[in-house]
Structures are given as structure tokens and as C-alpha cells.
Symmetry: C2
Subunit: 461 residues, 2 copies
């Protein structure tokens, strides 16, 4: 590759928004997860779609890899430039381009974060519901098909992105989707770019679907003797059509850690945390009906709340679970697993997961978005303990294979990135080669986020 030529051209184009300093390169070469440092050769900060297209044309002409960067909150090393080249940091492209409150659509640039967007929307009565926990950029969330606690009601990024603007590997700019609520007009390119992790194009604008802020919110929390009782409660609640906005599970180990760190006296049992959105009357009715299901399932310590303060108190254990887990083992880091199984298999999956963790001699509390069948183990590892990291990776690998056996997926929401490409053949078999054919058609030089998602030469069918 003619990296030097590309660098000269990009420096001329971006001026001070082009950098090769070591701190900048290193800041774009590490992630929140356990992956080794992988810095790009240079970082640029575009401000317009035209700049991204110009950059892409330069890199296409010179054969230089290009990797997008949002907030760097990925847990699977998505934005690590495995083959060097240019990292495109989108944080200066963080404007709201257009808000159509009547159509509940907002056009934004990809570097805007979800919290920034919701702050801007506060006065409109609307909000963007997808909540992966981290304050990720919306371009990053789109690229990883993110989801989170509200998915059981509002869906994932797949359901909440109406349209995209994308710069392709050859610098062409395309628009996918429309402002209509639905369309049957040709291939669903919007869906194709969502979750493509920047391997098919760079997202430069998103049109997002917004939702009305609920008139009323109520939350409930309860403890169960067994995991099975908790999960059966979720299944019954879904079956009854009670429209949950969130439904989260934490296991007894999370409760135990939370009590130890915070001096609380919560029952050290599996808990469910649930939230309802609606009118005052409907959330009261939903909470009442949910309470009946809980009682039938032998749930205890049932509490519900409608004020913000009381709701936050009830959800505190969930919100602070990750930090409490880290604090419980000072100096540790977390390797967070992420599988999703058909909900009927969830109790067995969590149980087997727990056994795998115990057998490996690891500490790994479990929590999850139980309404989706998606759960995480927070494997707490000593930093720089290669043996423990190897064991944790093995547990993550075994959990993924277990999910596949059960008809599930190797990743519910964290994506493939640098961490899970080795599992793609197991999940997708011949369909993985089809992904490779699409990649080759749209990025024949393999410049966009190379080394991610699709088969490499070493994986030939």
C-alpha cells in the first residue's frame, strides 16, 4: 500500500484535523476490553460527508485501510485497526441535522451520542429508546446493531433506524431507506449496513425513529427462590401481553456483591427488575397484573414505584451492578460474555453458564435482558494474568457454542469485532461465505475495517 502518499494527501485535506501523534494513535488503538494495543497509522476528524468521501477516495486509490471510530465503548474491539491505516474519528460529526417531531424522525450525524441526543430531545416529548448502557455514539450503535434494556419493548437499532447515508469503499455516497414508516422498495440496504461494523461502508448520517416519552413510568422489583421461577415469570408476563418496557435479571451473586459493597440487605437471590411505560392508569394496571404473576410464581419482596426517585432506588442494583462487581475484586477487569438464546432455554443456559464459570475457577456474576433471552457473565479477571484471561476466553467460547446448540446466537448485542470472528463459521456455516461474497462485491480491496466479520483467505470454504 502507498501509505505515505495517502498520508500526504490526507494531511493536505484535513490540516490540523489530521494527526499521527503517538497519544492520538494509541487512544484509537485500545478498547474497553482486553484486546492488545493496535494503533492506526493516522487519525482524521472529518466534519462533513464530503470529507469522508474524499478521504475514502484517497485511501481507495492508495489501497490504505480505513476504520471508523465513535466513542470507543465497544466490548469486542470493533474499532481496532487490525491492519493499521487510517482511523476516521466521527466525534466532530455530532450535529442534529433535522428534527421532524410530527413524523417522530430525527436526522443526525454519526458522532452524536445517545445521551446527547436524548438531552436535546427533552423538550420535545420524544426520546430515542435504544439503551446499551454505555454512552455510545449512534453511528457506532448502528454499526454494531446495538440494543439493551428497552429492547423488549422498543426493539434494537434494526427497528429504530429508518434511513442511512453511507460512504462506500470507492467513495460513492448512497442513501438507504426513507422517511416512510415502512417500504417494500427493493433490497433492505439499511438493514445490511446496520451491524456490518463498518466493513461495507462508513455511516455518515442516520435517520432515527423516535418515541413519545411515556406519560407515566412504573417500576417493580422482586426476588425469587430460583432462576427458573424468575424466568417463568418473564415468559408468563410476555404471554399475557403485559407490555414491559424493560425486564432485567440479576443473579444471587450480583445481589450478594451489591450488599457487600453497599451495606444493603437485599435478599441474596435472583431478582427481576421490570419497568412499564404508559398512562397512569395502564401502568398501574400493568404493575398490578405483574404482581399477580409474581405471587403465583412464589416471588417475594415485591415492590413497585412510580416516582423517579423511588424507581432509581429500586433499579440501583441493576444500574450499579458492573461497577459493584469490579469493586468487589479490586484491580480486576471484566471480560463480558454476551449470548442470546430462545427464551425457553434461558434457565438451562444460565445454569450451564454458571457451571462452566465455576469449573474454570472464575468469578462471574450473571445478569441480562431476560425478556430477550440475552445474558452476560461479568468474568472478573486479574489484570495481566494471562492464564486467567485464557480461561475466561475459553468460557466465553464454550458459552457461545452452547447458545448455538440451543438455537441461539453467539452475540445478542455486543457484536463480532475482533473477539468473535472465529465463531462465525460455527454460527453461520455457508451463510458466512455469502457475507464474504457481499463484502467482496462492495469492498473488493478489503479496505474497510479489515479483519472483521467476513472470512479471510485463511477461512476459504
Amino acid at each position: 500500500m502507498a501509505l505515505a502518499a495517502a498520508i500526504t494527501a490526507l494531511e493536505a485535506l484535513f490540516g490540523t484535523r489530521f494527526t499521527q501523534t503517538r497519544p492520538e494513535r494509541e487512544a484509537h488503538g485500545h478498547s474497553e476490553a482486553w484486546f492488545p494495543l493496535t494503533p492506526p497509522d493516522a487519525v482524521v476528524y472529518p466534519e462533513t460527508t464530503e470529507e469522508v468521501a474524499a478521504l475514502m477516495k484517497i485511501c481507495a486509490a492508495e489501497g490504505v485501510p480505513v476504520t471508523g471510530w465513535g466513542a470507543g465503548t465497544s466490548l469486542e474491539g470493533h474499532a481496532l485497526p487490525l491492519k493499521g491505516g487510517i482511523t476516521v474519528d466521527f466525534t466532530r460529526m455530532n450535529r442534529i441535522v433535522d428534527l421532524s417531531a410530527e413524523d417522530r424522525l430525527v436526522r443526525i450525524q454519526p458522532g452524536l451520542t445517545r445521551e446527547e441526543l436524548n438531552t436535546e430531545l427533552r423538550a420535545t416529548g420524544l426520546f430515542f429508546p435504544v439503551d446499551p448502557g454505555a454512552n455510545a455514539t449512534l453511528g457506532g450503535m448502528a454499526s454494531t446493531r446495538a440494543s439493551g434494556t428497552t429492547t423488549v419493548r422498543y426493539g434494537t437499532m434494526r427497528d429504530n433506524v429508518a434511513a442511512l447515508e453511507v460512504v462506500l469503499a470507492d467513495g460513492r455516497v448512497i442513501r438507504t431507506g426513507s422517511g416512510a414508516a415502512k417500504s417494500a422498495s427493493g433490497y433492505d440496504l439499511t438493514a445490511l449496513f446496520l451491524g456490518a461494523e463498518g466493513t461495507l461502508g462508513l455511516i455518515t448520517e442516520l435517520t432515527l425513529r423516535l418515541h413519545g416519552q411515556p406519560e407515566a413510568i412504573s417500576s417493580a422489583v422482586c426476588a425469587f427462590d430460583t432462576l427458573e421461577a424468575a424466568v417463568e415469570t418473564v415468559q408468563t408476563t410476555i404471554q399475557m401481553g403485559i407490555p414491559m418496557a424493560r425486564i432485567e435479571f440479576v443473579d444471587e451473586e450480583v445481589a450478594r456483591i451489591f450488599n457487600a459493597i453497599n451495606g444493603t440487605h437485599l435478599p441474596e437471590k435472583p431478582h427481576l427488575m421490570i419497568e412499564f411505560h404508559g398512562s397512569d392508569a395502564t401502568v398501574a394496571e400493568d404493575s398490578r397484573r405483574f404482581g399477580e404473576v409474581v405471587a403465583d410464581m412464589g416471588g417475594a419482596d415485591f415492590q413497585w414505584a412510580t416516582t423517579t426517585e423511588d424507581r432509581n432506588r429500586l433499579w440501583k442494583m441493576r444500574h450499579e451492578a458492573y461497577l459493584a462487581c469490579l469493586a468487589s475484586r479490586p484491580g480486576s477487569m471484566g471480560l463480558i460474555t454476551d449470548v442470546c438464546v430462545p427464551i425457553s432455554r434461558l434457565p438451562e443456559a444460565v445454569e450451564r453458564g454458571r457451571e462452566m464459570i465455576a469449573k474454570a475457577g472464575l468469578v462471574g456474576p450473571i445478569l441480562g435482558h431476560v425478556g430477550d433471552g440475552n445474558f452476560h457473565a461479568i468474568l472478573l479477571l486479574r489484570r495481566d494474568d494471562a492464564a486467567e484471561l485464557a480461561k475466561a476466553k475459553e468460557v466465553a467460547h464454550d458459552l457461545a457454542h452452547m447458545a448455538l446448540e440451543m438455537g441461539g446466537t453467539i452475540t445478542g448485542e455486543h457484536g463480532i469485532g475482533a473477539g468473535k470472528r472465529g465463531l462465525m463459521a460455527a454460527e453461520h456455516d455457508a451463510a458466512w461465505q455469502v457475507m464474504g461474497q457481499i463484502k467482496a462485491a462492495l469492498d473488493p480491496q478489503g479496505l474497510l475495517n479489515p479483519g472483521k466479520i467476513v472470512p479471510g483467505p485463511e477461512d476459504a470454504a
Copy 2:
């Protein structure tokens, strides 16, 4: 192409399930719409995925086109074999393969119709919600990304297909998706095949998401003085978060025709028909709140009902609108337009549509899935009147361009088929070429439903 060789091989493979009789060929060469007769060279009735794969390998080797066929209810000539070849009639592949009530998933073959599926599901407490009106096959509905009256609540086929099995152009069989509620595992191939109209592969199995039959259903109907008041009522209802299961609009012309045909005395005004699904308490509350919105908007003749009989009476005008329209002009046929616009533009779009129809001297009552911004004009044409057909096509074309100007789409739910490929460049611009690149990657000989969706040599960029 070596059609003769393919025919010899297919005859040997399929025996009596291979046919070249004229009635069979003609039955698979016409559609419900106005397109000219386009029979295939032969029709086969596979019973297994393996047979479809074997057929595809034969046709790939001989370069013979292959087009799928479901119930033939397409309104845009999707299944017309424009370049002849083999039509694959899926009606013998109509089994339920596996039902997982706990996971609310059902695996089915593509030739099963949505009514057959819902009949089979009746005892389970579950149902499949996508309702395009016609009793289409689920493979056909998947291939056209169908939607319908319940989309405002339950979504389109895009939202209700979890996984697919697909035979590719070279005979490989792949599986996309999983039984999990969500996944972030690589390219969304499921979404890519949905709406591809059989141009990328033949769907041989579907895993569908089911929903709980609502405990209670209530319906309401009301008349408005103006279209604007009706649409504003819909917008406000959405904004208030009242969870509508269906919301349909018919214009005053539909009401007038319905009265004339049925001897009823409904107000000859725009009407809204709405349906709520939930518990007894929540549907009563939803109906009450909706009634308040209607009163604020000056709606009249507000009626609501919860028994099946009363609900059917209220919805009669909607259910029978198409037949009443045809009956109002004996011997006519309908050309049905299908655009979808951002909901804020809907009143203007319907108004302008009405003007276009009047200016063309046509009769064309308007109705639609107003919660989605999707509406249809039923252009009533004399059979074999070429001048009237030409005018109707021009109105449909102008409506599509109007929808694009408004940020909408040329088709909300009927798809592209033989009728709308000429509008693809206008909607998708450079993205249409990307669809062509994907097609070329997966079907380099262009054998699957040729002449549909993607650019041909004549459309080169």
C-alpha cells in the same frame, strides 16, 4: 440457454410434479393485476428443500431462469417469469415444521398461507399478525416484505421473520438468523432476502415470530368532516402512546360507494376505523382515551364495540371496500396504487392524489393504513380500455414521484415486481447500483426471477 436439457433433467427428477401443459403454464403466467400473460416454459412442484436445491443446480448448469410462485396474489406481477424458464410452485411445501409455543416461534414451509397458519395456531393462544388482506403464502409475503392492517402495532414481515432457509442461485442451501429474539452476529442476511422478491435466492423455510392472542379486542369507528382532522387524530393518538393494533382510513368516496351498494346510511365523510388489543381494562381505557381525542378533533358518529359480531359490523365498510368499489362499476378492474409518506405529509399526499385522479378523469376511491402513512387509490378501469389503463399508470407513476418528493417511498407494501422497476432509480439513485452489485455477486448468471428489482444492462450507471 440449454432449456431442453434442463427440462429433461427436471422431468426425470420431478415426474408427475413437472408439467408443461398450457393451462398450468398460463395459470403461472398471469397475476391479479393488469400485466399481460407471461407463461413460464414449465412448472415444478417441489416437496423438499433438497428438491429445490437439485432443481437450482440443474438450472444453474444450463443457464435457465427460475422464478418462485406462492398464491399468485401479488399486485405488481412479482412472480411473472419475464424471461420464461422454470416456475417453482411452492404450494406443496406447506407444512408446519415445528412449533415452539414457549418461544413463540414457528418453523414453516413457504407455501403455507397466513390463514392456514392462523387456523393451525388457534388452539395455542398465539397468532401470526401480518395481514396483507389476501390469503397469500408466507414465502410470498416474506419475499415481498409484506405488511398490512396490523403493521402499526405488530410490524411488517421484516419484524416478524426470525430466520430463513434459502436456496441460492448455485444450489447451495444456507440458513440465516436464529431462534434468539435478537442478534448482533454479522450481516443481517434475513433482512436482505426479505423483500428481494426471489431475485437472490428461493426461500424454502421460514421461522416466524408469533404473538399472544389478545385477551380483549375493542374497535371504534368515527367520521370526520375533513381528511386533515382524521389524520391529525391519528397523529395525536400515536403521540399519546395509545397502542393501536389497527388504524384504517377510508375516504368519503368509499363511504358513498358503500352506502350505494349496501343501502346503508353511513355519513358520507372520511372515516377512521381503529382496533385495540389488550386486557379488558386496557382496551376500555384505550377506547376511552381515543374517544376523547376524536371529540377534540370534531369527530362524529363515534361508536365502539368489543364483541366479535359488533366489531365486524363496525369494520364492514373497510373489509368490503375493495369489492364494493369493483361492484360500483360493473365489469371494471382495479389498478391499486401503493405509496407511503411520512405521516406529516399524509393529508397533502391524499389531497394531491385525489386531484391527480380527478384530473385524469378516473374514478379512484382512497383508503389506507393511515398509521403508517400508507394509502391506496383503487383506480377503477374498464377492462381492455388501453387509454384508461395508460392514464391509470400515469397517475400511479405521478403518485410515486410525489411520495419521493415528500421523503416517502414508491411502495409501502406491494413491492416492485414487474410494475415499479422503472421507478427504482428515482427512489434509490446510486443505491440501486449497489443492489445490482449484490445481485451480481450472489446470482452472477442473473437466473433468479430475472428482470425484477435490480438494474439491467440498459440501466448502467
